[in-house]
Symmetry: C5
Subunit: 96 residues, 5 copies
C-alpha cells in the first residue's frame, strides 16, 4: 500500500457501470514528508476520506476487494486514513 493526500474530486457522468455509486477522489501520491511524488490519479473512496487527508491506497485487485466490486473497472482505492506513524530515520545515517 502507498501513501497519498486526497486533493480533490472528479465528476464523470459517462462511466463504466461498476464505478457508479463510488466516490472518485483525485489523489496525490506523497512521501512520508507529505511532499508530492509523481502525478495525481483517481481512486475510489472506501473509508470516507476527505480532501486534505493523509491516506493509504491500494491498486489492482486489492482495490476492487476494498470496494467490494470484484467485477468493476476500479484499479485504485483509498483503503485507510493514516492517524500517525513512526520512522527510525537513523537507520541509513551510515549511508549518507
Amino acid at each position: 500500500m502507498k501513501t497519498a493526500i486526497v486533493i480533490g474530486t472528479i465528476v464523470a457522468t459517462r462511466k463504466e457501470e461498476g464505478l457508479v455509486g463510488s466516490k472518485l477522489l483525485l489523489t496525490q501520491p506523497v512521501n512520508m514528508s507529505k511532499e508530492p511524488i509523481g502525478e495525481p490519479f483517481i481512486a475510489v473512496d472506501t473509508v470516507g476520506a476527505g480532501i486534505g487527508e493523509f491516506v493509504m491506497y491500494s491498486t489492482g485487485t486489492a482495490s476492487r476487494n476494498a470496494a467490494n466490486k470484484p467485477k468493476s473497472s476500479i484499479d485504485a482505492a483509498i483503503v485507510g486514513i493514516i492517524d500517525g506513524y513512526d520512522i527510525r530515520t537513523d537507520l541509513f545515517d551510515d549511508k549518507k
Copy 2:
C-alpha cells in the same frame, strides 16, 4: 484509474480474437493540466469516448472487466469521460 486524452485510433486486422469488435483508441496519458506525460498506448473504448476527450482509464483485470471480456488480451480500457473536477491546489504550498 488515471487520466488521459484520446488522440487517435488504431487499425489492426490481424489481432487476438478477444480484441475483435472493440474500438482501439490511441490514448495519451496527461496530468490534470492536460499536459502529456509518458508515451501513448492503446486502450479499448467502453464508454463511447471520442478523439480529444479527457478520459479515465484502467489497466489490468479492471480493463477486461470494463470491456466485459474477461478471457481477452485487453490490458487497458477507457472507463469514464471526465466532465469536471476540483483540486485543492493550496495543499502543498508549504512544500514549495
Copy 3:
C-alpha cells in the same frame, strides 16, 4: 496494450513447460514514431508476427489469455499487428 517492433527471436531449450511450443519473440517497445523506448523484452507470438513488424502487445493475465495458456509462465504476448493509425497531433499545440 502498447506498441513495439519485433526485432528477433530467442532460443531457450530449458524453459518452463507452458512456454514449450510458443514462439519467443524479442520485442522492442517503440513510440508512435517507431523510435525505441526502454529495453527489449520477450513476448510470445499469438498472431503470426514477423521480424520488423509494428505490433501491439499485452502483459500479465491478458498475455496468457492471448496465448490460451492460463496456467503458463507467459507474462507478455504480441496480440495484434498494426496496419495503420491516425493521430490528432494538434491536440497539445497549446501546451508546447
Copy 4:
C-alpha cells in the same frame, strides 16, 4: 520478490476491514548494499519482522496469499527475513 528494510510502523484506525488485525510496517526498498532506492511504502507483516530488519517483500496477489487474506485490500507484504546472501560481483567486470 524485492529487498527492503523495515523502518517504522503506521497507525490507521479507519481502514479497510481486511487490513484489521494486520501489522502495517513502513518499508524502505533498498539495494543489496542496503542503500535506500525509491520511496517507503506500507507492507503487511507476515513473518514477524522487526524495525531495522533486512527483508524480502512481495506485491499484488502474492502479498494477499502471504497474509492469507485473498479478499483484502493488501497489495504488499513482508514475506521473508534475509539471514544472508552471496553475490558474484565479478560477473559484470567486463562491462565497467
Copy 5:
C-alpha cells in the same frame, strides 16, 4: 518475460510457507548486451538455473504458475535459460 543474469543466492530461514523448498536466486536484470539495468531482485528458480547464467524471468501470477505454487507469495521466477538469440540491429538505423 524479461532477461537477467543470476548473480547469487539468498538465505532466509523465516519466510512465508510457500517459499519453503524453493531456491531463492539473486537476479540482475540485464539488456541484450548483458549490461545491468536496474536493481537485483529475488526470483524463485524453476528450471535449474546456475550462477552466471543468462535467463528469462516472469513476474506476478506467471511466476506462481511456473513454480506450481498458486497460493504462495512468489512474485518473480526464472522460467528459462537462454541458449541464444538473433536480433535485427539495423531496424532502427534510420532513427539514430
